[in-house]
Point group: C2
Chain length 412, copies 2
């Protein structure tokens, strides 16, 4: 992609109503634009990152037998009345037609998936089932000043598991813990598995918390990594020792980027979702649900991976592999060399953002490269005669390499 | 994928409230399930088809320089008041919070994209721009009895083009005509480029119409293929000759699967979207918009590609490449051979739906293969000793082939 043609150029200052670090950075760098408070448009660079995050999550959900489907945003009012949440779910928005028909506008999908699964499950042979979607959700958040961290419209992966027996559920819950660990590692996030409350559903749940001052949650955790609990339910306090004798435990703000949740038979009971066991007896299905905030993850990455110059994307979710700059000073020879490098890199399978602007000063190009945060910056210039300057975004050092060496480096 | 584990099995009869052919077929075969009238959940097989359609459209939009972004469903009420459509757009749904804040729930995205583009366009150098998204739209359709053909929530590709001059727009409009022709060919749809009215925006537009009795539009067309117009605006009547002297012109019902539309400066004027020309003068930007109903295309394909036994998916959008059946009669040798065939086909890169059910009779498996409509059916059985029966869904004939021959056939 040539930067000159890219929709969504950088700007110097974010609008004043962007107060969070993530929305300031992502707005300045041309990844997102606010539509209304808590609701963001994703520009081409932003959508690329969002899709990469979604694809990593999708891969890992498929790897454990998850089947992807797509549930509706407009839902069935009767189902919400059945669970009682039509009246009690504060953040529920309602889509209204001119004739005053009202639809629940999906903030979550238990009311859709349980009646759906009921159509297909009758015997123990139909279980277990692991069903997920990556879909837009709507919630009327009271405060929506945290950019992508808390949106009124946001992208989420939600998986629902259906089991015949408690022990099957417990096994799968542990598999999910491992899978979430892997997912967040791949996403470049240090997310602590954190004990949390179970609300009205169960005794406990687990959250995946990324430590940062921008977080809205508070956790108590062991710096050695063997304990973390949401401060609301933590059995121990800041300053105490953890169970393994480490300490002192710390307290910090954190962003919840995912959660896993035993649902028991709460929703199965509401909709009469049962299966026949081997003896022909009707038994309620046991459920769990497992969320990852896809757009929130993008916000969390921007929030924790940055410096004074801009974002520093982890490789796996970066919008491009390489940011290529030519310092041409109107010399056609340098421009040709940069064009050639662009073609060769593309041929080698690399996804290059080529800053081909003729009216931008070298300093402006370097500043934009840093702001946008693509992991590798390459510079062709007269000074680097014959070689290309190779610099990682996260490092201050650079080296001069030949094009072939650079391509080899990427393939390694 | 093993059919035994697949979520979304076939059923014998569709529920009575599914009255359209496409929703009956897609419901029976386990591709979709209605949530509320005009709103469908996509089960794993259905989502696969939907994604394949979207990917083909995406490829062709990228090929002509389209840049993908993602605009919001919750929109800005002020923008809709600016264009006057807050009051006049009958099908607009409004998302309401408990505090009675109202958001327009996107039935279309001019009110989002024009103010967005205005943030980035100032000079003629910033044009042209071709921006598109593949996104869920919401419309309060009065009648929603046509399955995926007319939904209250549906998936759509909408591209918006922005030009400095009328002649640039005209050129791009012709490029889009060619691109749409190619898209619908790849999707296996015979879609006629059809002259249509321009509404309040322009003198004319073009629709892409697929002839079928299930359609809600009426077109007048030349059987030789050189003329088609929406009956509402056709300058000629059924039975007359076309301009090339062919005839008689026919009249038919048809489904509009796409449209392309000159918008002129209607929306640019509403939002003050202008650019500075070389002389520094402010000139309003000229726009076009170009839609394809992704979920409607899926409905249209089911509507026109079927027989008494079920759906016949065109290869490019089929949920799997192959439907594999073993007629084992509880012989472990045949089961092993079918398992081996499954593994080999997968290794060869084919996407196989393996009907591994042990409790289903051969007749039931054949019936499901026909209903689901995957292009190729393979049968391993004792009778076919050493060979595999290869049958195309659209053909009545079959042949016996070795596994290697079959794999070669696919690669050809």
């Amino acid at each position: 992609m040539r930067y000159s043609a890219l929709f969504g150029k950088t700007i110097k200052d974010a609008p004043k109503d962007e107060v969070s670090k993530n929305s300031k950075l992502l707005t300045r760098s041309g990844f997102i634009r606010r539509e209304v408070s808590g609701v963001y448009n994703f520009l081409p660079l932003g959508l690329k990152v969002l899709k990469k995050i979604a694809d990593i999550v999708r891969e890992e959900m498929n790897a454990i037998g998850g089947q992807e489907l797509s549930l509706t945003a407009l839902q069935n009012k009767e189902s919400w009345q059945k669970t009682g949440r039509w009246k009690t779910f504060r953040a529920l928005m309602k889509a209204k037609t001119q004739l005053e028909t009202e639809y629940p506008l999906g903030p979550t999908h238990e009311e859709v998936i349980v009646p759906l699964v009921k159509q297909f499950v009758s015997s123990y042979k139909d279980l277990p089932l692991y069903l997920y979607q990556i879909q837009t959700k709507f919630r009327d958040e009271k405060r929506a000043k945290s950019g992508l961290l808390r949106g009124r419209e946001f992208l989420m992966k939600d998986l629902y598991s259906f089991h015949a027996q408690e022990k099957d559920f417990n096994k799968f819950y542990e598999i999910m813990k491992k899978t979430y660990k892997k997912v967040f590692e791949r996403l470049g996030l240090d997310a602590l598995e954190t004990l949390a409350g179970g609300g009205t559903f169960s005794q406990f749940s687990h959250e995946y918390q990324v430590i940062t001052d921008a977080g809205e949650d508070e956790i108590i955790y062991c710096p050695k990594g063997d304990f973390s609990a949401n401060a609301e339910v933590s059995p121990v306090k800041e300053g105490e020792a953890c169970r393994l004798g480490h300490g002192p435990l710390k307290k910090s703000k954190a962003i919840e980027v995912g959660n896993i949740f035993p649902l028991g038979t709460k929703f199965s009971d509401a909709f009469g979702l049962t299966y026949k066991n081997k003896e022909g007896k009707d038994i309620p299905v046991i459920m769990g649900c497992y969320g990852i905030g896809i757009s929130r993850v993008m916000g969390a990455i921007a929030e924790v991976h940055n410096d004074a110059k801009g974002i520093i994307w982890p490789k796996e979710v970066a919008p491009h592999d390489v940011y290529l700059i030519g310092i041409t000073n109107n010399e056609s020879r340098i421009k040709e060399r940069t064009d050639e490098a662009y073609d060769s890199l593309k041929k080698a399978g690399l996804d290059v953002l080529y800053d081909d602007r003729e009216d931008a000063a070298p300093g402006a190009k370097f500043a934009d490269a840093d702001l946008i945060g693509i992991p590798i910056r390459l510079v062709v210039s007269k000074r680097n005669e014959g070689k290309i300057e190779f610099k990682e975004r996260k490092s201050a050092k650079s080296e001069l390499l030949g094009l072939e060496e650079i391509i080899k480096k990427f393939k390694a």
